[in-house]
């Protein structure tokens, strides 16, 4: 691996980020975390009301990275073959043959919109593909493209007739991001762009899939000191009510973070460190990445749900006191 790629990581990352920010306004943190998620090789679950630019985000991302993009709108009648693809009968001259018609999942960037609306069967087909990065149809296995990134969304408003993702499925997402309404200034700019006063800037291709894969490789090799690793582990252990010394965890948490949560934190922390121009993971990286990595992996008990306790508050308490 050439050292120049390593030294230029931050530059490359910021270039992609800046290009995306031209089209996505007022969501700097979301953009950054999304990019971290992609480089870390994970998938992102996003929670937010409609019209906040989730589709636009993925679209712009695909343009900047020059990778293929697909949007899947999940509905209750969506079937697995609608996502994965199916075998169709093909007539060739006198013979009939079967051809596998690839589904929308065979794209680098997927927007799985309102994933909680689809049936569990369809959800699991999608999630399995996310996990395995391969599809098996009719006895044949098909590899998904690299990089492969799914941005799944959940609509927090329309919960009736929906199928919330089970805990085991939620665990497959690297991050859960909460997208919020932009501020006044950002909204003003959005309106200017979308209603014609200001022309949207042309989005340039800044990187490609090789660059993303290279960045991923560099991030995996980044050094992390033992005390910092142990800090991440202590955070994870503190989320389990049986082992935790935190009263809030004992009172409100049903089930704590799995080891996948620690893996996610460390992978994300490495990318974050490189994005900030450092070549080592620090405590701050772990702290910062704890929220998106753990908020969907801590499951509240009835009391927690009834009292409306937010997992972010629990994570905040743990992160400060464990250090």
């Amino acid at each position: 691996m050439e050292k120049r790629y390593i030294r230029n990581f931050q530059q490359s990352f910021e270039a992609i980020e800046e290009e995306i920010k031209k089209a996505i306004i007022g969501q700097e943190e979301i953009v950054r975390n999304m990019l971290i998620g992609i480089v870390a090789g994970g998938n992102v679950l996003m929670e937010g009301t409609p019209g906040l630019g989730k589709t636009q985000l993925v679209k712009v991302l695909s343009q900047v990275l020059n990778v293929s993009f697909a949007r899947i709108q999940f509905t209750p009648d969506l079937m697995p073959i609608d996502i994965l693809g199916t075998v169709i009968v093909n007539k060739k001259e006198e013979d009939f043959g079967f051809t596998f018609q690839k589904g929308p999942i065979f794209n680098s960037l997927i927007l799985a919109d309102e994933i909680n609306r689809a049936t569990p069967k369809t959800q699991s087909a999608m999630l399995e593909a996310m996990q395995e990065k391969t599809i098996t149809v009719g006895g044949d296995t098909y590899k998904l493209p690299e990089p492969f990134f799914v941005l799944a969304t959940e609509n927090p408003l329309d919960m009736e007739g929906t199928y919330p993702l089970p805990e085991a499925q939620l665990d497959r997402f690297l991050f859960k991001l909460k997208i919020s309404i932009p501020n006044m200034e950002a909204l003003s700019r959005i309106i200017d762009i979308t209603t014609g006063k200001q022309n949207i800037l042309q989005i340039k291709k800044v990187a490609d899939k090789e660059a993303i894969l290279k960045m991923k490789e560099i991030a995996m090799k980044l050094p992390i000191a033992l005390p910092i690793k142990e800090y991440a582990i202590r955070i994870m252990l503190a989320t389990h009510p049986q082992q935790s010394q935190f009263q809030a965890v004992k009172d409100y948490v049903k089930c704590g973070v799995s080891p996948r949560g620690v893996q996610a934190m460390i992978k994300a922390a490495k990318v974050r460190a490189l994005a900030e121009g450092r070549f080592n993971v620090s405590y701050d990286d772990i702290e910062d990445m704890a929220y998106p990595c753990l908020r969907h992996r801590i499951f509240m008990n009835f009391r927690g749900l009834a009292d409306g306790v937010d997992t972010d508050d629990i994570i905040k308490d743990i992160v400060k006191r464990v250090k």
Binding site: M1, E2, K3, I6, R7, I218, K221, L222, P223, I224, A225, L226, P227, I228, R278, F279, N280, V281, S282, Y283, D284
Partner: protein, 519 residues
């Protein structure tokens, strides 16, 4: 291979942290010491503690040394220095450096280059500010000052302690004299007995230095005197045994010789015990017996005498006179002078004791001037006409310092007299006539006496005193003699010494024994 700048930085930082730690521990030690100082001094006003200030200062220094030692041992680890360095803005780079310094992967190499660049632009060692706990130092100073103030407050306990200290100082003066005696002995120590003596004197010296009452000190001296006498007795018995062995079974030996030897008056009893001249045959027998005695485990003193006897026997030239001289010489080695000096020391200490001596009407009076009682001292002459009356100037014809060793009703007898076959303890008492005008409260007069007996060119020191009774020497002397004899008769006097003691006191009493003539 050149070390990474981070290594040097960490070492310097470690040193700085260590120094800070030692400094802060020293301040903490000072604080703890000052609190200890304050509490101890406060306590010393409730319970008397001698040399409290010195002891507490030593203890405080000891505490301080402990804290400093802890600081010296608590050397910071590299990891600790790295953590502290990282907190100054290095974002955990130093901690990562320690773990990955031997890793040669491209990412780590880039990390190292980046770290080097940052360290060159950021002086972490300088940035680290040593935090001194000045507040603790100030508190320590305040408490110490308060302690000093409290120390000088008057209280009963402090007064008692000061008095004990004064007594101890005086006892230490005596201990110095004991040390001088010991050092003289060291120069001439050649045998086991002398080494025993030196050890005994050394122990006494140490014990005296830790005595805070005259009575206790006097008791220690008495015990030492017993030990020295024991050494003396052991030496004597050993010699008796050896000599008995040499002369045993020969014609030269009288039956009573051995018994006479046991009476511890060898040289006198040689006249009784042995024939005047020793025949050649006798001398050969002596030599044969002597050789047997030399093989036995006698002390070096005895062996010396045996060697001398052997030398004489070898020349067939041993006679009674030579034998007497050899034994007498050996006896002179016995520590008579040491015992006398110890006795004097003991008497000095007992004279210093608070209770002092009884006067004519039976009250205690102090024996020293500075206690404010009516005592004076003079050297005078005893008149020819009356042995017991003292005069100044040229009337008398033999000078004497009235220092009859009589127990003047002094209650503090030494412990040695109780239940043991030794002489009872007698106090010295100097009781003199008063000089100066009648009714004057001046005492401690030094001056020249003219023919008529008046003091001229007198130097008088006024001291706090009250007029005491004027005692006539004879009356006081009689009283002391009477009481002294009662005191003496309390104790068992060994038979062998009875005659001597009777004789002694009869001379003191002018031929009377407790008012009755001695028969």
């Amino acid at each position: 291979m050149q070390s990474h700048p981070a290594e040097k930085t960490l070492k310097k930082l470690k040193g700085k942290i260590w120094g800070e730690r030692i400094l802060n521990l020293m301040i903490q030690g000072l604080l703890v010491s000052s609190i200890f100082l304050f509490l101890s001094i406060l306590f010393s006003h409730i319970y008397p503690i001698v040399y409290v200030f010195r002891k507490v200062v030593y203890m405080a220094l000891f505490i301080l040394i402990i804290f400093i030692s802890i600081g010296l041992f608590k050397k910071p680890l590299l990891q600790e220095a790295a953590t502290i360095g990282d907190s100054l803005g290095l974002k955990d780079r130093l901690v990562t450096y320690i773990e990955y310094k031997d890793n040669k992967s491209p990412v780590v190499e880039v990390f190292m280059e980046n770290l080097e660049h940052i360290i060159e632009n950021m002086d972490i060692v300088k940035k680290y500010k040593v935090k001194i706990k000045f507040k603790n130092l100030l508190i320590a100073a305040l408490i110490s000052s308060l302690s000093l103030g409290v120390y000088f407050l008057p209280s009963n306990a402090r007064q008692i302690a000061e008095e004990s200290e004064d007594i101890n100082k005086m006892i230490k003066e005596e201990a110095k004299k004991i040390r001088d005696i010991k050092e003289k002995k060291i120069d001439s120590a050649s045998d086991d007995a002398s080494k025993d003596l030196i050890n005994t004197l050394e122990k006494l010296e140490k014990k005296l230095e830790s005595c805070y009452s005259f009575n206790e000190a006097a008791t220690e001296i008495s015990q030492t005197q017993r030990k020295i006498e024991g050494i003396d007795v052991r030496n004597t018995y050993d010699m008796i045994e050896a000599l008995s062995g040499v002369f045993n079974g020969t014609l030269a030996m009288e039956n009573s010789f051995e018994i006479s030897l046991m009476n511890d008056d060898i040289d006198k009893n040689l006249d009784i015990g042995l024939n005047t001249n020793f025949s050649e045959e006798d001398q050969q027998k002596f030599l044969k017996n002597l050789k047997k005695e030399m093989d036995k485990p006698h002390n070096s003193n005895t062996k010396d005498i045996l060697k001398k006897i052997e030398a004489e026997l070898a020349n067939n030239s041993l006679n009674k006179e030579k034998l007497k001289r050899m034994i007498k010489y050996n006896k002179e080695n016995i520590e008579e002078d040491t015992l006398i000096k110890l006795q004097e020391a003991k008497e000095r200490l007992m004279a210093q004791d608070d209770n002092g001596m009884k006067n004519q009407v039976g009250d205690y009076q102090f024996s020293t001037f500075d206690k404010g009682k009516n005592m004076d001292y003079r050297k005078g002459e005893v008149s020819d006409s009356d042995e017991n009356k003292m005069f100044i100037g040229g009337r008398g014809n033999k000078s004497v310092t009235s220092s009859c060793g009589i127990g003047g009703g002094h209650q503090r007898a030494s412990d040695e007299g109780r239940g043991e076959e030794t002489l009872g303890e007698l106090d010295k008492n100097s009781k003199n006539e008063r000089l100066g005008d009648d009714g004057s409260s001046v005492s401690n007069i030094y001056g020249q006496i003219n023919d008529s007996g008046t003091i001229i060119h007198q130097v008088s020191n006024k001291v706090l005193a009250i007029d005491g009774e004027s005692s006539i020497l004879e009356a006081a002397l009689k009283e002391f003699q009477k009481d002294g004899l009662k005191y003496v008769y309390k104790y068992k006097i060994p038979l062998k010494r009875r005659e001597l003691i009777m004789d002694y006191f009869s001379r003191l009493n002018g031929g009377e024994l407790d008012g009755e003539e001695i028969h």
